[in-house]
Symmetry: C2
Subunit: 118 residues, 2 copies
DNA sequence: TTAGTTAGTATCAAAGAGGGAACCATGACT
DNA sequence: AGTCATGGTTCCCTCTTTGATACTAACTAA
């Protein structure tokens, strides 16, 4: 049955948790921001609302499929909000949520920690 | 040439960075702790030095290959230190480094942020 | 009528990650 | 000689993830 579902979810690469710590929010958090392009998308959206095509232009190497996928997952996890305008051609705007804003300072700390890694 | 190299590194799953932000330490940090079992290993080693077999017993689902790989990467990135005792049978002890200890509070914050995710 | 626009989907193939099992060295014990 | 223990390594196979490409809807402009 294979359920193609356009490549959401994961498994091979999912971060594991410990016995008796299976719901440790760290693993939840990492699974939410650990996607291949997610921190970039969050970083870019931090400066303000953007529509799909604008995000693509700012991340030239991402494919349309990947961007769609990452945005869908970020939306599902409550980090970005998506607004569709019923126009032609279509217009869809993305922006970060309060939850993502709360994450920002932590990412900054992670950033300064990461800078110690040579 | 294919370079099997025992399955170190990654690529498909590597977190991407932005043009002009390619060395953003966030992506570095995430790549360092983002491995499938790394936060578990760090979590377990936080309580003190353990030898290889002991870690295995605490993470029953991990395979020997994976544990070796994750420990090697953590060591390479300066998060754990590895001490080999020239005995027979071999004894190898692992412990967290200062760098990993510095990371701890950030992981805790990430943890409390993650707990807001339902 | 044909082309152009945006935001996607669908499909196929390639690359990568992870599991399983087998193998290895060394010395002690039986 | 055969077995056990520890900490690995190697190979193969499968599943997942990613990339590339083509296709769609719906309306506008030429």
């Amino acid at each position: 049955m294979t359920k193609k579902q356009s490549g959401l979810s994961s498994k091979a690469n999912k971060i594991e948790s410990v016995e008796g710590l299976n719901d440790c929010p760290i693993t939840v958090a990492l699974s939410v921001i650990g996607g291949k392009w997610k921190v970039i998308v969050l970083y870019i959206l931090r400066d303000g609302t953007l529509r799909f095509g604008e995000i693509r232009k700012k991340i030239p190497k991402i494919t349309q499929k990947m961007l769609t996928q990452q945005l869908r997952e970020l939306e599902r996890d409550g980090l970005v909000s998506r607004e569709v305008f019923p126009e032609v051609p279509p217009r869809v705007e993305y922006s970060v949520t309060k939850l993502a804003e709360d994450l920002s300072p932590i990412l900054d700390q992670l950033c300064s920690w990461g800078s110690k890694l040579k």
